[in-house]
Symmetry: none
């Protein structure tokens, strides 16, 4: 390993720690309350580092949101695996209920939405979860039901944020049962 690569590694590590700190602050304070100073403090790097590696605060924000979106992909994969074993409405409800209990992830989801409200170029981050969920569900039900469930799950996210508690697992079980059944019949 040459010195140059060492440098690069070090630099990349620092860059990553800044992205991570930014992501943490997005979860904590919301996506509209970022400042270079707070990010530098959280990441324990000099202020200059937060402008050195990123063309602007918006750029850094976008990268942090992307980082968070990648994280959400992991949940999706877990859901995919679980549904392969058991795709009953109750199982699906359970999996989504767990997701709604994860403060970090639902705040990340909110951040995608809020950010894309101000900057349309960030919309793909906000639709990634929706599209992914539809794809996973489509393996077990028809496309229309999959979409219905995905839309419902976004509604449940909103409910959870506004009520400070996840939408009822029992009701989700019933609802998913109906949506999947009907989906199967109608498509």
């Amino acid at each position: 390993m040459t010195n140059i690569t060492k440098f690069e590694k070090k630099s990349a590590a620092r860059k990553h720690s800044i992205i991570k700190a930014t992501a943490d602050l997005i979860i904590e304070n919301g996506v509209n309350n970022l400042t270079h100073r707070e990010i530098a403090a959280k990441a324990k790097v000099p202020l200059g580092s937060t402008t050195q590696h990123f063309s602007s605060l918006d750029d850094l924000k976008a990268q942090a949101l992307t980082y968070l979106a990648d994280m959400l992909d992991d949940i999706l994969q877990e859901i995919d695996v679980e549904l392969a074993r058991n795709s009953s409405p109750a199982k699906l409800a359970q999996l989504l209920y767990e997701y709604l209990q994860d403060t970090v992830r639902i705040h990340a989801d909110v951040a995608f939405f809020v950010a894309s409200t101000d900057d349309p170029s960030l919309r793909p981050l906000a639709t990634r979860w929706f599209d992914g969920l539809v794809a996973v569900l489509s393996k077990h039900t028809d496309k229309e039901a999959a979409q219905a469930i995905a839309v419902f799950s976004d509604g449940a996210l909103v409910y959870t944020i506004l009520h400070n508690e996840p939408f009822s697992e029992a009701m989700m079980t019933n609802i998913f049962a109906n949506l999947m059944k009907s989906g199967g019949k109608e498509s």
Copy 2:
């Protein structure tokens, strides 16, 4: 009409025009991008007027959001009236589809959500639509189905914002049919 009431009327009118301008800007630019200067320009009043009647920008924001929320109540009442005549899933889907086509109103709804994300005291504004819709729907189906439809409709709102087009009316018809039927059975 005495001079005093004339005064009050004029003053109230100006205050209202500031609130209206703020509401317009919320719809146009999002709830996180308000400044006294832009509000004053939009309302065509001097900068000082925007602080004369409101204790802070947050206060003004809250009043503008309340004004928008009151506006949404009107739609709800229309839906209430329409459903009294015909509460079929297709009719419900049609009414919500119309709502989702109204850019101003869905952006208002988003503003409630986004604002309450940063300031919990604004949450009641964000839940007002949800609670109202549940109340209206409860006249025609059981409570659980009413909630399911309301949650779904929030999801459809998110879908609409993120995709720049309302969620399919046809699919909503199917979905509501299932949710209402099931609601009827289970309760």
Copy 3:
């Protein structure tokens, strides 16, 4: 009594209540923290009244300080009367100690000083107490001792403000005894 005089009386009463409220606020918040709004609120008069009867806030401040200075004259007269009966150092110390315990009056004295620091035209208000005390004391001791005691008493005022408790009465007795004795001898 004609209507006009009634008006005048009413107007004068209102003006006086504004001056009184201003004086109260000077004691409470210091002479540098006056606003028309707070004065109007304290006096329970409309905002306009506080500018109608006074050419400026500085004018109002000056009148309020004059009102307070007049109040201090009363103490001086009491001291004068008391000293006529007993002009011993102990009596004098007791009288000044009482004065130093009166929060309102010492804050008034501070206000004169602070105000005259910013506006030399107010200096006469600040020297009125000093000059009056010298005059009263001069009846019982020579001029030089009278001045010495007056200067000392201003120092004791400063001490009292900074230490939040009056300067020792016992020490004042000793000190006055020396200053008066010496004054008698040396002049």
Copy 4:
């Protein structure tokens, strides 16, 4: 000298020049009439620099007052040295008379007093001179006389400010003679 220390030196120099400018303005205009703008103009630095190194205007004010207080300590030390050689009342009167002739220093003293009137946390600055003077005097007379002289000297400061001329040196000589004699006798 490394680059880093060069940086620090330059930065510290600028910070110091801002504090110095603030101190100058306190002497010139009084402690209640500071603005960032005037400070920046006086220090010949951009407006932003006056907020870069100080958390608030109050913080800057406090640092400027501390700077002035440190300056006053120097006089005290001179007095200490002089009194070691000759602690006669006449010498003491001469030293204090010199002090009262120094416009900058007496205005600094006034600033401590006025500032601590609005912000009790600044009181230690205002009592520093008094406590120091008592300590120095205590080497040459008893504690009570030392306190008496210090109180008197605060009174003489007030006199000087209000009359625009120092209190008489001759009278101070007499007064100190009496206070020290009595002190000597009573302790």
